[in-house]
């Protein structure tokens, strides 16, 4: 009988799809759409992890990146850091289990956010080459280093440990990852080279050594010994959550009453606000959070959204800082003029964020083409999806002409400039899991514009001054050309010797050179004398 029922028949085909399997089929969602981009993504995930690890240990990062080309479309990527290392038991989980990590459950300004990063790289390596990912990690000079070779069991989303033994590693502490993958290497705006260069710009405290596939060694020096302020972890702001999150939080909380849940698990809710919310939602302050029914949670959610709650704390953010951003740019970009701005923190949807911007102008930069826009989120360069990014919209919305750049309306400006925008946030709103484009929140766009306009004003002042200085020089040299002419005319008019008049005029010019340069700035009108 059952054999004839369609649903039963279908049920034989229905089964849980593991996240690993899901990724296998939808690798583009994570940014692994093509071999070129895949190479960049793997490097990016590994370098991001390295920088975050050193940050957690509060050591100045020393990161080693190497690309080895095996054949046209096969590469080995090696990334090594001097971070705290990972204890032996955790190594397989961190590298060979998707969505495993310490970052997913917190709100903190981190490079990665979803914990999908490095294990996705491992999976990509496995899928394209079948090779094991090799990890070495050491947590203390006196402890041994551990060597692992890992795969992911894609059905169960569990690590497969192929090898696991101690090795000698000439390093006090740190982690090294080596992956083999199908990939393609190219130069240009969306290359690994560019990614590392931009990473060096926004991480001026890091020293990065990069060995290119051509075996060229590029060293990005450290220009400051100050570690960035460590971002603080904050609890979610009530206005920044969705109902699903609220349901999960109610289930997971260790608080025993609704009132203490609201106060302990959110930022900015005190006893008064907490009891007001409970009253309004017609719930007991002592209700057990996990016992609320869905209809009650819905009401609670609405009440929370309608309650006035002060904005979240913003001291949790760690900007690069104007001075360091400028240093970072100066070491990697050849330009005549640099200006930077760090905006005060602001809030979108309950999430604190902060915008920094910079403009580099002149020098070797191309005068004719569109400016280069460098986008960063939590110190990570964004190289793809520029057109879809809120930063691009913010920069295009500004009228740049008054600031000395060319522009056809609604487009990015043109001129010899690089425009840099960095968004730091506990939760950067990307438009997709590939984490390449910032969502278009009004609050964020507004801050981007304010930051860029501030840089623009300083740029305009610089251009005005320097164009003027150049003109002044030209004009002084014009006097030198006029002098023989005037001497000649005066000689014709008076019969005096031209050479003597010329000599005397030159003396006056030399004596008054500095005064003359100043007077150039005055209005050119012939002054009237009463």
């Amino acid at each position: 009988m059952t054999e004839n029922i369609k649903a039963v028949e279908l049920s034989k085909k229905q089964r849980e799809i593991s996240i690993s399997e899901f990724f296998t089929r939808n690798r583009h969602l994570l940014g692994f759409d093509n071999p070129t981009r895949a190479l960049m993504m793997v490097v990016k995930e590994a370098v991001d992890n390295a920088l975050d690890a050193t940050m957690e240990m509060k050591v100045l990062p020393e990161i080693y990146v190497e690309l080895k080309q095996l054949n046209e479309d096969r590469f080995i990527v090696i990334v090594e850091d001097n971070g705290p290392g990972i204890i032996k038991q955790q190594i397989p989980n961190i590298f060979a289990k998707l969505l495993y990590g310490s970052k997913f459950h917190t709100l903190k300004q981190n490079r990665g956010q979803q914990g999908i990063g490095i294990s996705a790289a491992v999976l990509y390596s496995q899928l394209t080459t079948g090779k094991f990912t090799k990890i070495i990690s050491k947590i203390h000079p006196k402890k041994p280093a551990h060597y692992f070779e890992l795969h992911i069991d894609t059905k169960r989303n569990e690590p497969i440990i192929e090898r696991d033994h101690e090795v000698d590693w000439n390093k006090d502490h740190g982690t090294r990852i080596e992956l083999e993958l199908e990939a393609r290497y190219q130069k240009g705006r969306q290359s690994v080279d560019e990614y590392i260069k931009q990473t060096a710009i926004v991480n001026p405290h890091a020293k990065i050594i990069y060995i290119t596939p051509e075996k060229e060694r590029i060293e990005f020096p450290r220009v400051t010994n100050d570690l960035p302020k460590e971002p603080k972890e904050i609890k979610p702001h009530p206005h920044g959550i969705e109902i699903g999150t609220l349901i999960r939080m109610l289930k997971d909380t260790t608080s025993t009453t609704l009132s203490s849940f609201l106060q302990n698990d959110f930022s900015r809710i005190g006893p008064t606000v907490s009891s007001n919310i409970c009253d309004e939602a017609k719930l007991s302050t002592r209700a057990k959070p996990s016992s609320l029914e869905n209809s009650q949670i819905e009401i609670l959610f609405k009440v929370i959204q309608n309650t006035k709650i002060i904005a979240p704390p913003t001291d949790c953010l760690s900007p690069i800082g104007s001075e360091l951003l400028e240093k970072g740019l100066k070491k990697e970009i050849q330009a005549d003029f640099f200006t930077t701005t760090t905006r005060p923190p602001s809030v979108y949807r309950g999430m604190p964020f902060l915008i920094e911007a910079a403009i580099a102008y002149g020098g070797d930069l191309d005068k004719e083409s569109t400016i280069r826009l460098m986008r960063f989120a939590n110190r990570v360069p964004l190289l793809y999806q520029q057109g879809a990014c809120g930063i691009t919209e913010g920069a295009s919305d500004i009228t740049w002409r008054p600031y000395g750049l060319g522009q056809s309306s609604g487009n990015l400006p043109t001129g010899p400039a690089i425009i840099v925008v960095h968004i730091a946030s506990v939760w950067v709103p990307f438009t997709s899991e590939a984490k390449e484009a910032i969502a278009h929140y009004d609050e964020i766009l507004k801050e981007i514009k304010l930051a860029l306009q501030d840089c623009g004003r300083k740029l305009a002042a610089y251009i005005r001054k320097n164009v003027k200085a150049k003109e002044q020089k030209e004009r002084i040299s014009l006097f030198e050309k006029y002098i023989p002419e005037l001497a000649f005319s005066l000689s014709n008019l008076t019969g005096e010797k031209s050479a003597i008049i010329e000599e005397n005029l030159k003396k006056i010019l030399n004596k008054n050179m500095s005064k003359l340069i100043e007077s150039v700035q005055e209005d050119g009108k012939e002054e009237s004398k009463e």
């Binding site: 002419e485 005037l486 008054n512 150039v520 012939e526 004398k529």
Partner: protein, 365 residues
Amino acid sequence: MEKKNQKNKSKEEIELLGRRIVNQIDKGKNPEIVFPLRNLSNIVYDKKTKTLKLGDKKGSRLFFNVAHAKKFLQTVEVASIIKKELLDSGKHEHLRGVFYISKRTIPGTNVNIVDDQTESDKAIEDLEVITGLSREQMHVSANKMGSMVGNIILEDSGDTIDCSKLGRGGYSVPSITDELSFKKVNAKYILYMEKAAIFERLNEDKFWQKNNAILVTSQGQTTRGIRRLLQRLSDEENLPIYVLTDFDCWGFYIYSVIKYGSIALAHASEKLTIPGVKFLGITADDIVKYDLKKHLIKLNEQDLTRMKQVSEYEWFKENKDWLRQLKMMKDFGAKAEIQALATKGISFISEKYLPEKIKNKEFLD
């Protein structure tokens, strides 16, 4: 003929300018030329003499000032040309010629001492106010753009000219009229007109013969030569002068330049203005009287702008009759050309309009 001491005086004055500058240079000073400003802010309407004059505001031109240097050089260069090429040799040269002599590229630059004729013309006008010499005294002439017919015999450079025997073209008035002498004048008045076409009409109709008049024209703005000629005829021969222009603000201004002087040449007013001159037409009243409304031309943007400027000039602003004319023009929203009279018949102007107006003394002052 020009007297010898005038030529020497001109030479001295222009040389003096050069000497002053050389002295400043010898003393290590920034060379400076000081002269009366020649813009509207320094134009004064002298109510007593009814002429436009330059006020007391002085401008200063410095060589070592980027904004002035080129003009300074132009002034001195043109002065040296006048001294060396014209006064020393006793020859005259046209404004255009002075431009070409001064036009050359400064070595090592792409800068010309003068780029177009307006710059050398301006330098000459500047030299007039600086030295007190007139352009004519500096031996510089301008385009001759004017004709004269009538019962007048004059002497020009030794030639005797009878202006009643010069056919349809008439006597071509030279640009410098200071040196003409009037031998025999037999006319009751002078009719000056803006349009050469009207001059030809009236000449063909032998208007001057029938009405015993002298006809003068200079297409458009009146040249200095004609203005000086009219002034001399007014002063020396005691002839009344009537002005005939289009009914528009440009025509009104042509009249006011002859009568009071112009902003550009306020420094030369004394030798050019004729306070006794009268405006004959065309007036707003003529348009009403002769029923010319059908032949009006709508005022355009420029006309309205010019109207606003003209009605703010002191010498118009304080004259009720002229304000009335301007108001009527504004009310018409239109202007008229002299030729509109031809709609009443080709010779209406010479046979009816002019004789009637002059007989009835229908003038504006």
